[in-house]
C-alpha cells in the first residue's frame, strides 16, 4: 500500500471512530427532552432594577431555549449565539453588562445549571430561575 492510500485509509478510519463516538454520545449522554405537556415556572431576578417576576407556562417544548424563544417578547429575553450554543444575555429587557462582568445565572429547582438553555430539558413542575449576577 503506498503512502497516499495509507493516508486515505487512516482518515476514513478516524472518521468512522468519530461517527461511532457521535452515535454513542447521542444515544447515551446527550440530554433528552420529554414529549407532552409540562407546567413550568420561570423566575427572573434583577436586583439592581428591583425586578423579581414569575411566569408560569404550559408548554409542549422539550428544551428551555425553545420556550424562551417562544416567550421572547413577554420575557424581554435576548440571546447571543456562540459556536457551542446560545447564551441568555438579557431578561426583562435588561441586557447583562459584560464590561461589569454581569451575566444571567440559571438555576433549575435551586440547583446551578451546568449547561446552556439549549441543553436544559423542560420537566413538569420545574422552576427555572434567571438571576443577574457578576462573576
Amino acid at each position: 500500500m503506498n503512502n497516499v492510500n495509507k493516508k486515505v485509509v487512516a482518515i476514513v478510519g478516524i472518521l468512522l471512530v468519530a461517527a461511532v463516538v457521535y452515535w454513542g454520545y447521542s444515544a447515551f449522554i446527550a440530554p433528552k427532552g420529554e414529549a407532552g405537556k409540562k407546567h413550568v415556572t420561570i423566575q427572573v431576578v434583577i436586583e439592581k432594577q428591583n425586578i423579581d417576576e414569575t411566569f408560569e407556562y404550559t408548554t409542549e417544548h422539550e428544551f428551555l431555549y425553545d420556550l424562551l424563544k417562544e416567550k421572547e417578547k413577554e420575557l424581554g429575553a435576548s440571546f447571543k449565539t456562540f459556536d457551542f450554543g446560545a447564551m441568555v444575555t438579557g431578561m426583562m429587557n435588561y441586557t447583562a453588562n459584560e464590561a461589569e462582568n454581569e451575566y444571567f445565572h440559571i438555576t433549575v429547582n435551586g440547583q446551578d445549571a451546568t449547561t446552556g438553555p439549549q441543553e436544559i430539558p423542560l420537566k413538569d413542575g420545574d422552576v427555572y430561575k434567571f438571576e443577574l449576577k457578576t462573576w
Binding site: K7, A10, I11, V17, A18, V21, Y22, Y25, T114, T115
Partner: protein, 171 residues
C-alpha cells in the same frame, strides 16, 4: 539557553504565526492549526525555542481575550504538547506518528481543561464540562489528526529549507 539575535527574532515570529493561524480558523469550532504548528516548530527548531514561543503565544492570548482560567491553562497545555513531541521525535519515523500525537492531544484537550477548571470551580463542574464537550473534543481530535497527516510533511520540509536558508543550520 544561549539566546542569539536570530533566536530573539525567530521566537516572536513563531509565536505570531501561531496567533494568526489560530485567528484565521477561529470561525470553525475546534478546528485549528496551532497543534500542528507547535509540533512542526518543535521538530524543526527544537524544544527550547518552541517552549518560549508557547509562553509568548499564551501571553498574547491574555492580551487579546483578557485574563481567565482557560488562558492560564494554555501555559501548561502547549508546553506539554511540545515536551511530548520533543521526547518522541527521535522515535517517530513518519507523519503518522505526529498525526497520532495531534489526534490524541485534541481528544484529551477537553479532559485537561476539565481537570484544570475543577481546581477553580469544583469536580462536579469539571466532569460536566468534559461530558458536555465530548463532541467538540472528537471534532478537535479528528481534525488535528487529518491536518497533521496531510500537512506535516510538506510544511516541515518547506520550513526546514527556509530555516536553513535564513538562519543557517538550526541547532
Amino acid at each position: 539557553m544561549d539566546m542569539r539575535a536570530r533566536d530573539i527574532a525567530l521566537i516572536p515570529l513563531l509565536s505570531a504565526s501561531i496567533t494568526v493561524g489560530k485567528l484565521a480558523l477561529s470561525f470553525i469550532p475546534n478546528v485549528e492549526i496551532v497543534t500542528m504548528l507547535f509540533i512542526i516548530y518543535t521538530v524543526t527548531f527544537g524544544l527550547k525555542r518552541s517552549l518560549l514561543a508557547a509562553v509568548l503565544f499564551s501571553t498574547i492570548e491574555i492580551l487579546i481575550y483578557g485574563f481567565s482560567t482557560w488562558v492560564l491553562g494554555y501555559y501548561l497545555i502547549w508546553p506539554l504538547l511540545i515536551i511530548v513531541t520533543g521526547l518522541l521525535k527521535d522515535r517517530l519515523k513518519s507523519e503518522f506518528g505526529y498525526a497520532a500525537i495531534a489526534g490524541i492531544f485534541g481528544f484529551l484537550f477537553g479532559a485537561f481543561f476539565a481537570v484544570f477548571e475543577s481546581f477553580f470551580y469544583g469536580w462536579a463542574y469539571g466532569f460536566t464540562y468534559w461530558l458536555r464537550g465530548i463532541l467538540f473534543d472528537v471534532v478537535h481530535g479528528v481534525s488535528n489528526y487529518i491536518v497533521v497527516l496531510l500537512l506535516f510533511k510538506p510544511l516541515s520540509r518547506m520550513l526546514k529549507a527556509q530555516a536553513e536558508r535564513f538562519f543557517g543550520v538550526v541547532s
